[in-house]
Structure formats: C-alpha cells, structure tokens
C-alpha cells in the first residue's frame, strides 16, 4: 500500500477493482465502511457480485481479463475532458518529458519487438536526452513527443464503444464509474484504488497495476490522505516476506539479485545505481551501494572487508534472462532437472495452475522435505487418487510445523506497519516454527562442511550466523549495527550498538543492516518500536487517523508514501482539511515527510518522487517487459478471435511452458467457450490446507462449487445444487452448481459470453469435498513477475452423471 488501512476512511471515492475486499479482508473492511459513513462513494468492479458488492453503492460486472480497457477508457475520459489536476501533473510528473525517436507503437506492438525470443529491446523506448544527459523537457507540451501527448494518443483508441465492446460493461456503467472516480481530480478530493490478486494474476498483471498509477497521478491522488494505490495483501505477513526477498529476483530491501556479468561489487553497483542529471532530484536509489554493503556486512560480519569486496563474490549469481520462479522450478522438476527439494508454506499440488502437470512433475523427485501443520495434497502427492503409491519413488520427509500463533516475531501488514506478536501457546508435540527448522539444519550443514569439507566452503562457514534462533536477535540484525565506533552528529555510538536510521548506513563496512528499509525499527534510543501501542497523536494527525506512535512503519515511520506530493510548491497542503504534511516555515509537521528538504520553492527543495531517478512520477518510464504504456491484450485463453484495439490478440511477451502437458486452447475455441475465473472465499484460506482441517469452517463451506448464471444453467440443463463436470484443455474438475443472479452473461463484441467462478480451496486430502480447481487453470504468466493467469481461462461444463470427488 502507498497508504494504510485506516487512511481509507479519508477517501471521497473508493474504487475496489481486482479485489473482493469484504470477503478477504473482513476486519479491515471496517475502514471502507467508515469512508462510506463519511460520505464516500463505494464502487466495486468485478466479474461477480460478491459480499463486497453488496456493501458498495454499486457493482459493475466486468469480463475477467479486461481491466486495462476499463482503466484505459478512464484515462481517455480524463485526458479528453481535461479532468486532470494540472498543478500536480505539471509539477510532480514527467508529463512534459520528451520521448526519444526509438519509441513507436503500431497495431498492438511497441518498437523493439523480437518475435523469436518474445522480448522487447527496451533501449528503443528511452527518453530523449539533453546535452547534460538529462531529460528533454517541454513544459508547454507543444512537442508531440511529450509524454502526455503520446499518452493521449495511445489511449484515444479506448473509446466508450471499444471499451464497452470488449469488457462487456455497458457504456452507462462505464460512465458511472468514470464520473464518480474522476470527481476526485480536484485538490480537495481524494480517491483510492484497492486491488489484490484479481489484478496480479493475469498475463498483464503488472500493467493492470501500472495503469492504475497513471490514473491516480492524473487525478493527483498519490501521496494524499484517502488516495493511493493500495494492494490488499492476502496473507498477514506477505508484505514482510516481499520486503525480505521471498522472490528470487531480489535480495532484501529491493535490490536486484546479483547476475553473472556482475562479478565484483563495483560492477553490481554500477549496473544497479541510477544517476540523475536533474539537480533537484533526490534520486534515493543513488544510495544503493550503502545499503548493499551494509547487507553484506550483516550477512558476513567481520569476514566482510573492503579488501574482499565484503564477500560479494560468495553470493550466487543468476544467469541473465533466466527465470527461477516457482512455475519455472516446477517445469524443471517436470523435465527431470531437479532431483530433490524443500516445499514449505505452500501447497503447489492444489494452488498452482495446471495442477495435473504439477502432480506428475513432483513424482520425478527422489526426495522431498515438507513442513506443514496438516498433511496436504503436496505432502501426500505420492498417494493421490488414481495412482499406485508403489510406483512412486519420492521419499517424503514431513516435518511438523508450528502454527503462526505458536511463535514470536514481527508481521508487516499491508500498510507496511511492523507489529510484534508474542507467542500465544507452545507448539504442539514435536512441531517447530520455520526458523527452528532452518537454523539447526543449516548448523548441521556447517558442521559437515567443517568436518568433511565441500564446494565453496566460505559461503557457508563465513556467515554471521547463530547457534540458536532468537527472534529479537534477528529483529536487531535487520535494523542493523555499527561495526566501528562512530559518530552521528554529536552522538557517539560504540561498535555493536544499533544504527538509528538508514541515513547513516555506509558503504565502507562500518555499518550493517539486513534490510535498510527496516533500519530505525529498533534503536538504542527507543528500543523495539514494533511493540509500540501508543495511540497519542497531534490534532493534525488525528484529523486523518494517523497514529505515529502505534507500531512502526517502513520507511522511517512514514505512513503515507510520496507525501511531498500532497503539498504545493510552498509546502501548503492541497487539501488543508486532510493535510498529511505541512511546512510551518522552518520544519515539516504531520507525517514523516519523504526526506528532510524544504518545499520545492526553496532552492534546497527536492522533487517529491524520490524513488525514481529524475524525481518526477513516471507516466512513461523505462517500462516493464511488456511496454512503456499499458495496452490491452486478451488473456492467453480467450473467447474472442479479435478485439478492436489491435491485431495483437494476446500479450506478445507473456511466458508459458512447452511440455506435452502445457496446453493452451486456441482463441475462440468452440470446445471451451466459457470464461472461468477463480478466487478465494472468506471461510477458507488460500488453498484451504489449513482451514479444511478446522471442522467449524468446513461446516460453513463444505464443498467445491461453481457459480454460474441462470441463463447458462438453463442452456446446459443444470439446476442449483446439481453436480457438474468442468473441462479445460488441461483437465477436468467436479463441482456443485451454485446458480445465481450474481453472475450474469456478458455481451462481448456483440455476442453472449458466459463466465463462471470457482474457489480453489478444496483438495482430495479432505475427503468428498472436491479436488483442485487448478487442474483447469492455465500455465501462462506475466512477463515481469511470472505470476500465473489464475483469473482467466476457458472451459466447458456439463451436468455430471455421477460424482466421485464430491460426496
């Protein structure tokens, strides 16, 4: 989230799109209700009318996979009608930058496309460079290559008719959302966009989110109270796990993972540290070398010295362009390239798409270690229905895991608040928490290395490690230490004392931090700030529900990111009634500002978007893998043979696999005419591995269902409660029909398109409840994140003669 949960109450318009907020965030939904109490308009745009829609002012049904046309139409509406916030756009965005000659867009393809590799040469999209290497800027916007003009041109094709034809949303409904939301393009109004996996799980997932940032920047809704782009995180600590580099392509604190061409720290820093020619740009990532060196120091301690490049050479390096994400790991297992491994905290045999392939793939492993609370479809894959366990070779070690309430430590919530949790009860039986599994395991490996030797022993033995896991010890290591006696201002710190703020982290080995964005969370002066539960606030903070002394928030306890964009050039809030920060003539008051500098009108002032190189928010940037402007492409499996935006039907760069088990139905395949979208539900959590084992929860949602319209049910001769068989190009699945008015047929490109929806919470280890919905879903992935397109594929369905998975 750019903002935080409580802040949603400050919004004048709440657009929930790509999220089912009431069902998946039932407690936090109170802040959305609070916005409504304050007079906000609540809008839900989603294929299905859900419990969220029931509490909104209105619901607009949208065909799954058409968020870009929907938002592109809004962008066109804003630009064509001049509804954008001009001061904000002129002063705080790169609307006036001139784009270089290499950029072009023609019939759905950007310049630089190579069909053989399905990749773009992004250098073609570079901005024009002035003599100083900086951007060429035309504040008059007369240059037709200005970002704002190219953007206008790009989205001029997103007319109400085109958008309505593709999305299945009536023009009236489009205008209803556009008018209500764009009314926030005034300095005294705020609109927030709330999204979740409904946006990420598409082959255009990143571009869905990027387009929302274009809308919010035009309306001046970033950095202000009640604004922002807010990812509603689906797991209590998914924000924390992302911050600490759960994903392969970054290391803690949002630094790229080292790659093979960067053999030295200097090479790494050169490739990863942006340089700006804009004098009043803070270019915060210019500090990256300090954070990376401090991270290496945290990892290797005294062994990390300037002479040995702080042990940088010990880090594994990625091959450029290789994809090491989980879907590619599963493909390598399918192709017998991986022999054994650990699967923890995830249930791929139920939750990953194209599950039939996943299940066959896992049989190829010689050994597998899982750590779970309950047996799952993954731990028990070798004895799944329809296979003879005697023919499966995998040796499975199932370690009993503690539940999250059986351990102490921090959780980072959607709003980036770091909150300490104490252990509620001891783990049952022999169960251990994750760290008490990993730390002894790694110590065993270290002992074996010491005694028996092995490949690259330094990487294992020189680590600044521990004998026994202590969550407080690691929380302090994350904050970071001084490794030499140091001075900050007048204050002296001894070696071993905690670093007070990331501003003092250095690239010379005198400081460490396992994650710079968390530096300041535990200090000598204030102790463990994640434990703070003090509701005190100033009257200014009280007006917007900002509690600076309750827990701690990264970065530096800043509750609303980019808050310098909430004030004018003189530091005065655009909306004094809901001020986030304000310059009182000598200092900032309110929230922690994005940097200490005075307002923009002061010669020492800095531009507000400090995390981008040139300080201005990017309508047009270096660009994700699929283009500098979001463009509509149909899902990998689509009921359409064409769409009105271009001849390029689906994304030219989405990723997929090519084994005999990776099938994607051709466009408008008459065998699979129905769109399937999948989702979670309030009563079960994700794949259901935990909650299916809670009898009272299973009582409320006992079996797999498929929600469908009355019209489709009638067409197929299906009655409410009947058993149904669904099939896709990849597999079959049984479900119980839930025939409902909450899903209605779409009229798309002049013809009727049916859509059905299913949860994915049920699996065969809970008998008679149904089995993985993901046997139907498609292995097609976003080109930037490799997140699978779980939200849209094509299926057919019929009434079941007899059910075997559900009883």
């Amino acid at each position: 989230m750019t903002n935080h949960w409580i802040d949603i109450k400050n919004a004048d318009a709440v657009l929930i799109i790509g999220s089912n907020a009431a069902e998946h965030h039932p407690v936090a939904f109170k802040w959305i209700m609070k916005a409504k109490d304050n007079g906000a308009v609540l809008m839900h745009v989603d294929p299905k009318f859900s419990r969220t829609s029931a509490r909104c002012d209105f619901h607009v049904p949208l065909r799954s996979g058409t968020d870009i046309p929907f938002l592109g139409g809004m962008l066109n509406y804003i630009l064509a009608n001049g509804l954008y916030q001009k001061d904000y756009v002129n002063n705080y965005t790169n609307a006036a930058f001139v784009v270089g000659d290499g950029y072009a867009f023609e019939d759905g393809l950007f310049s630089g496309y190579d069909a053989a590799t399905r990749k773009y040469d992004k250098s073609k999209w570079a901005l024009a460079k002035g003599p100083d290497g900086g951007p060429v800027v035309d504040p008059t916007h007369k240059n037709p290559r200005c970002v704002i003009n190219l953007m206008k041109d790009h989205y001029s094709r997103y007319t109400l008719k085109n958008v309505s034809d593709v999305t299945g949303v009536s023009q009236d409904n489009l205008l209803k959302v556009y008018k209500n939301f764009c009314a926030t393009g005034r300095p005294d109004k705020a609109g927030t966009i709330l999204y979740a996996l409904g946006w990420t799980q598409h082959t255009v997932g990143v571009q869905n989110i990027r387009l929302s940032s274009l809308v919010q920047l035009l309306l001046g809704n970033i950095g202000i109270a009640g604004g922002g782009i807010n990812a509603l995180r689906g797991e209590p600590n998914v924000q924390g796990s992302t911050d600490h580099a759960l994903l392969y392509n970054n290391i803690p604190g949002y630094h790229g993972t080292p790659q093979a061409p960067w053999q030295t720290l200097a090479e790494y820093n050169k490739a990863n540290t942006p340089v700006t020619a804009v004098s009043n740009s803070a270019n915060w990532w210019g500090n990256r070398p300090k954070y990376v060196t401090s991270l290496l120091k945290g990892w290797y301690g005294d062994a990390a010295t300037p002479e040995n490049d702080f042990c940088y050479s010990l880090l594994p390096k990625l091959e450029p362009g290789e994809d090491y994400s989980y879907m590619f790991a599963m493909d390598r297992i399918y192709n017998n390239k991986i022999k054994g491994g650990f699967i923890m905290g995830v249930n791929p045999m139920n939750s990953f798409p194209n599950t039939n392939k996943m299940r066959v793939a896992l049989d190829n492993l010689d050994w597998l270690v899982c750590s779970e609370i309950h047996n799952s479809e993954t731990t028990d894959n070798w004895q799944r229905p329809g296979v003879d366990p005697k023919t499966k070779k995998t040796e499975v070690f199932l370690l009993p895991s503690a539940h999250r309430i059986e351990k102490a430590g921090t959780i980072s919530n959607s709003g980036r608040w770091l909150q300490w949790f104490d252990k509620a009860v001891e783990p049952a039986g022999e169960a251990r928490n994750f760290a008490d599994v990993v730390v002894p395991l790694f110590n065993t490996i270290r002992r074996m290395y010491k005694e028996e030797g092995g490949v690259l022993p330094e990487a294992v033995l020189q680590m600044n490690w521990t004998d026994k896991y202590d969550p407080e010890d690691w929380a302090r290591r994350i904050n970071g230490f001084f490794w030499a006696d140091s001075k900050v201002g007048d204050k002296a710190y001894k070696r071993g004392q905690l670093v007070p703020t990331f501003g003092v982290l250095k690239d010379d080995g005198t400081t460490s931090s396992l994650n710079w964005i968390y530096t300041g969370s535990w200090t000598e002066e204030d102790g463990n700030k994640s434990r703070r539960r003090d509701p005190s606030q100033t009257p200014m903070q009280a007006k917007i529900g900002l509690y600076p002394n309750w827990s701690w928030c990264w970065p530096l306890n800043r509750r609303i990111l980019y808050n310098r964009a909430s004030v004018d050039m003189n530091g005065k809030p655009f909306n004094p009634d809901r001020a986030v920060i304000e310059w009182d003539g000598s200092k900032w008051v309110g929230d922690v500002p994005d940097g200490p500098w005075p307002p923009m009108s002061d010669p020492k002032g800095k531009l507000p978007f400090i995390m981008v190189k040139d300080g201005l928010a990017q309508f047009y940037g270096p660009g994700p893998a699929d283009g500098p402007f979001p463009e509509h492409y149909e899902p990998a499996e689509t009921p359409l043979a064409s769409h009105p935006f271009s001849k390029q039907l689906s994304s030219p760069v989405y990723k997929y696999h090519k084994t005999d088990m990776d099938k994607i139905a051709p466009p408008a395949d008459p065998r699979y005419p129905i769109v399937l979208t999948t989702y979670s539900l309030t009563e079960h959590w994700c794949g259901g591995g935990e909650t299916r084992n809670v009898p009272n929860l299973l009582e409320t949602e006992p079996q797999l269902y498929v929600e469908m319209s009355h019209e489709l049910a009638k067409e197929k001769g299906i009655k409410n409660g009947d058993g149904v068989v669904l099939e896709s190009a990849r597999g079959n699945c049984e479900a119980i029909a839930m025939v409902t008015v909450r899903i209605r047929p779409f009229t798309v490109m002049g013809k009727t398109v049916h859509l059905v929806g299913m949860p994915f919470a049920f699996g065969w280890t809970t008998p008679k409840t149904g089995d993985s919905t993901n046997r139907l879903t498609v292995g097609a992935y976003d080109p930037n994140t490799t997140i699978p397109e779980s939200k849209a594929c094509c299926v057919n369905l019929r009434k079941a003669e007899k059910l075997t998975e559900i009883g």
Partner: protein, 219 residues
C-alpha cells in the same frame, strides 16, 4: 432495564464471524454439511448452530442485483410467547431473565415432549427454538448470559468487525437504532426497524421482510 441488540443489516458483510464465534463460545460441534447451491450453511438453525447468517438474492425493478444478509437468532422478546407455551407443559422449561431480558431454555426443557417442543417452535413468531433429538433439550441463543452477567458483550457482537451488531442498555440502543434508520432511509427508503417495540434484538432491515427471510420480522 433489559439489554438490547441492534443488528444493522446494512452494515453486515455476511463474513459469518458471528455464526462461528457463537459455535466456538458455546463449544458446539460441527455438523456434517454439503454444498447445496448456496453460501447459507448449515441451511437452518440446529442444536449446533444457535445463530446462522441467511442469504437472499434477487434482481430488483431497476435490474440491479440485491443480496441481503440476515444474521438470524432469538429475539429475546419482551413478552416471550415461548415461555407461556412451555410453562403449560413443563413449568420453568423456558425462563425470562428480567435483569437482562434474556429468554433462556433450561435443563427442564429436556422433559418437554416432541409435540410440546413443536408447539413452542410454532408459537415463536421467528421460528427459533430447535429440539436436540439426543438430549431432548430446546436449543436457542442464550444472549451469552454467562458473558453478559460478567459485564462482557455477547460473543457475536464482540466478533462483528463492521459494527453491524451493537449491544447495550435498551435506552441507549433505541435512539441509536433511530439514528441508524435515518441514515439507511436515505439510500433505502423502505428501511425499517423490525418489531422494535416487542423484541430485544432489533433488526434494521433495508428491504421488505420477504426479501430477507420469511420470519425476519413478525409485523
């Protein structure tokens, strides 16, 4: 002065936290249920579910989907007809606690015959009590009398995340109910407070009662 619940269905998201919390607090086992083509599960009140959320969906005259949620429970009537009917068969089978207003089925209710229990259920304007075939006892919401006597809120109210349920002194709840009604009427002109004069569990309904559940309101 008796206690009163206000259940504002215009704030309910049907998360069913109340339904689950009720089971957990009363230590009631799970039923074996099946998917019957609805999210409403278990389908009805039963000895193991003293509170369930009922779902009702339809398309209104404007062509919009309406999905109403009704967290159903005993209304703890101010003059409970079930007490009178039960007293005719087994005195003390159901009692009315004057202090809290709670209407409570006691151990003595196990002495009621099946026919008596049926008569009590039929006398209830809201079709609430259910007979446990194993113990023979009548089962229904007990207002969390143990919690309320200890100065705590009923567990369903405590659990509700959106403020759809409020519990307190009747004199405080009545004006709050009126205030909520005024707000609701701006959006839903048909909104009303169901049987407010007669019950301790006042529902704010946005729609006619048949658009929730046939026993949602008596009047």
């Amino acid at each position: 002065m008796p206690k009163t619940f206000l259940v504002d269905t215009t704030r309910c998201t049907a998360c069913r936290g109340c339904q689950l919390a009720c089971k957990e607090w009363h230590d009631l086992p799970a039923n074996h249920t099946k998917q019957l083509g609805t999210h409403q599960n278990p389908p009805d009140l039963n000895p193991n579910n003293l509170k369930i959320v009922r779902f009702h969906e339809y398309i209104n005259d404007q062509g919009d989907v309406v999905w109403n949620f009704f967290p159903d429970q005993c209304r703890h009537c101010l003059t409970p007809p079930c007490v009178d009917v039960a007293d005719m068969a087994v005195p003390g089978a159901i009692i009315h606690d004057k202090k809290t207003g709670a209407v409570l089925a006691t151990e003595k209710s196990s002495k009621l015959s099946e026919d008596d229990a049926q008569a009590i259920q039929e006398a209830c304007p809201y079709n609430i009590p259910r007979r446990d075939p194993e113990s023979g006892r009548l089962t229904k919401c007990d207002m969390c009398i143990d919690r309320v006597s200890a100065g705590m809120q009923p567990i369903c109210v405590k659990t509700c995340p959106t403020g759809a349920m409020v519990f307190g002194e009747r004199e405080e709840m009545l004006p709050l109910a009126q205030k909520r009604l005024e707000t609701a009427k701006k959006r839903w002109p048909k909104a009303f407070l169901a049987d407010m004069e007669d019950v301790s569990v006042i529902y704010l309904l946005a729609d006619t009662k048949d658009k929730y559940y046939e026993f949602a309101a008596f009047m």
